[in-house]
């Protein structure tokens, strides 16, 4: 069974198309890398998977996760909350609640399964608190549990976001650049944790990565977006340097202006002058 099924997904923001008819499928238990240049639509695609952004109205447009509809024709499914509880989403910008403690931020991961009468007054059980601390321990932040989220360093905040997703005990994990702000060792540990829960528990993992080396090391398959379209979809081994050069290089020529203008620098009027 496929864990994720996306069909004919289109999305534009104020007229500008960002996703241009994406159709992909991800098998249960896969660990998939989602790559593409900055602004190619990776985060937007991820947000569609958990139904936080709704697609443009389209007759064939459909997103299914774990066999349940998330959105269809640009309308959210009615039982979307129950599906979301089974999807862990690590946001690129972390989306922590700055004023709450690190531990509470992690405990929020459990909201999908804690009854409302306990969650609203914040009556988490000792077992849940212990679980939160263990998730924090797994990302190396056990001692920061009682700090306010806003006082953490960038990499620490990122790891809190990961701990929150772990706390959720989800069946699908969407990790949007989970190691962007992490040092090599922390990165390795986070990727290994993702790999382990993928291998040992069969959890489906989609991870957005800018460092292709990590994708090669931990994932078997990759999907590459370019300019809102699926540019590559296949085994990671097929991602050779030429493909990558086209993916990142050419994308800039079409989707955005070249970082280095193709014209000779002098003629372009851009020059580095003394200040």
């Amino acid at each position: 069974m496929s864990a994720i099924k996306v069909n004919a997904l289109q999305k534009s923001f104020t007229g500008a198309p960002v996703l241009k008819g994406i159709s992909v499928e991800v098998e249960q238990g896969e660990m998939l890398a989602l790559i593409g240049s900055s602004g190619s639509g990776k985060s937007t695609l991820m947000r569609h998977l958990s139904g936080l952004t709704l697609a443009d109205r389209g007759p064939a447009s459909l997103v299914e996760v774990l066999g349940r509809k998330v959105q269809q024709h640009g309308r959210a499914a009615s039982d979307i909350r129950r599906t979301r509880a089974r999807i862990g989403h690590v946001f690129q910008q972390f989306n922590l609640i700055n004023r709450l403690s690190v531990q509470t931020n992690v405990l929020i991961g459990a909201l999908g399964r804690v009854p409302v009468w306990r969650s609203l007054p914040g009556w988490f059980t000792d077992a849940e608190r212990r679980l939160a601390l263990e998730a924090l321990e797994l990302v190396g932040l056990r001692e920061h549990a009682m700090k306010r989220a806003s006082t953490l360093s960038g990499g620490q905040q990122q790891r809190v976001a990961i701990a929150r997703a772990l706390m959720q005990q989800a069946e699908v994990i969407l990790a949007d650049e989970p190691i962007a702000s992490l040092d090599p060792e922390s990165s390795r540990l986070v990727m290994e944790t993702l790999q382990r829960i993928n291998r040992e528990r069969g959890i489906t993992v989609i991870v957005t990565l800018h460092q292709v080396d990590y994708a090669r090391q931990y994932c078997r398959r990759a999907i590459a977006l370019r300019d809102g379209e699926v540019f590559f979809n296949g085994p990671i081994s097929a991602l050779d340097d030429t493909t990558l050069a086209t993916l990142y290089g050419t994308a800039h020529e079409t989707a955005e202006r070249p970082l280095i203008p193709s014209r000779p620098r002098q003629a372009s009027g851009l020059e580095l002058n003394p200040v």
């Binding site: 936080l52 946001f91 910008q93 922590l96 509470t104 991961g109 009027g269 580095l272 200040v275």
Partner: protein, 264 residues
């Protein structure tokens, strides 16, 4: 470190905003019209400043001979204002959330906003009379009248704070499969709490000052004394009462600052 040598790069500017320009034009027209309508003449203030000073001098020195009585009435006021405010906070939380555009669909927040508009717009005196008829004269009628009006104000202020929050933390909570109540408790409330505290204490403070309703229904209190002393031309007593109120407002303000600090 980058510096332009060519000048042919087109310069991007925001397109001229006709709507905004129109808005400003209307505002200035209204102000010009109102200058006439409100008979504004700033020079008068300067020319006649002397009589202002003369009048202000009547307030000094403050006459504290009845201070015990003032403090007693302050207590009555506190009772009434406290209950009026606490009840209205309890109601403003749901109404404020329901009238926030970013939390509820249009067919919920529009009617709720209009209801709140009405409770603010209807004169407190009318509510006071309405409640007098049911519960009789006395502080309870005052509490109820303050409560209704304050609910209208706080619900509006609460909801507009909610509309200005950062949506990302809320999405973070939503993505865990939390239900809307949990989104609010974990994603919205922590962001707006400092502002909500400040609004609540501001309304408490203005309920302490409000003499009209409370005086109307015969509930007494410091505001009524102030009013009476002004109407009795006892300006030195007025001054003493005002100092008591200023002290109370200052205390509330300091409390507000401390409470908010714990949440910012």
């Amino acid at each position: 470190m980058i510096q332009s040598t060519a000048t042919n790069t087109p310069v991007a500017r925001k397109p001229f905003n006709w709507l905004a320009a129109l808005g400003w034009a209307v505002l200035f027209l209204l102000l010009g019209w109102g200058w006439e309508g409100a008979e504004i003449d700033p020079l008068l203030l300067i020319r006649e400043g002397g009589s202002m000073l003369e009048f202000a001098a009547d307030f000094f020195p403050p006459d504290f001979s009845d201070i015990g009585y003032y403090l007693e009435e302050m207590l009555v006021t506190l009772h009434i204002a406290l209950w009026g405010t606490v009840l209205s906070i309890l109601l403003s939380i749901p109404f404020g959330l329901l009238s926030a555009e970013n939390l509820t669909p249009v067919w919920v927040h529009q009617p709720v906003r209009r209801l709140m508009d009405a409770t603010r717009a209807i004169n407190e005196m009318v509510f006071a009379m309405l409640f007098v008829v049911a519960v009789g004269l006395g502080p309870f009628a005052g509490v109820l009248a303050l409560f209704v009006h304050t609910t209208g104000v706080l619900a509006k202020l609460f909801s507009e704070a909610v509309e200005a929050i950062d949506p990302r933390p809320v999405e973070g909570v939503r993505a865990t499969g939390a239900n809307p109540l949990e989104e609010i408790v974990y994603g919205v409330i922590p962001q707006v709490l400092p502002l909500w505290i400040s609004y609540s204490l501001y309304r408490f403070e203005s309920n302490v000052r409000s003499a009209t309703v409370v005086g109307m229904v015969g509930a007494g209190g410091i505001g009524v004394i102030l009013w009476e002393s002004i109407r009795g031309f006892q300006f030195q007593q007025t001054c003493a009462v005002m100092l008591v109120i200023i002290a109370c407002v200052t205390l509330t303000d300091l409390l507000s600052q401390q409470l908010r600090k714990a949440f910012i």
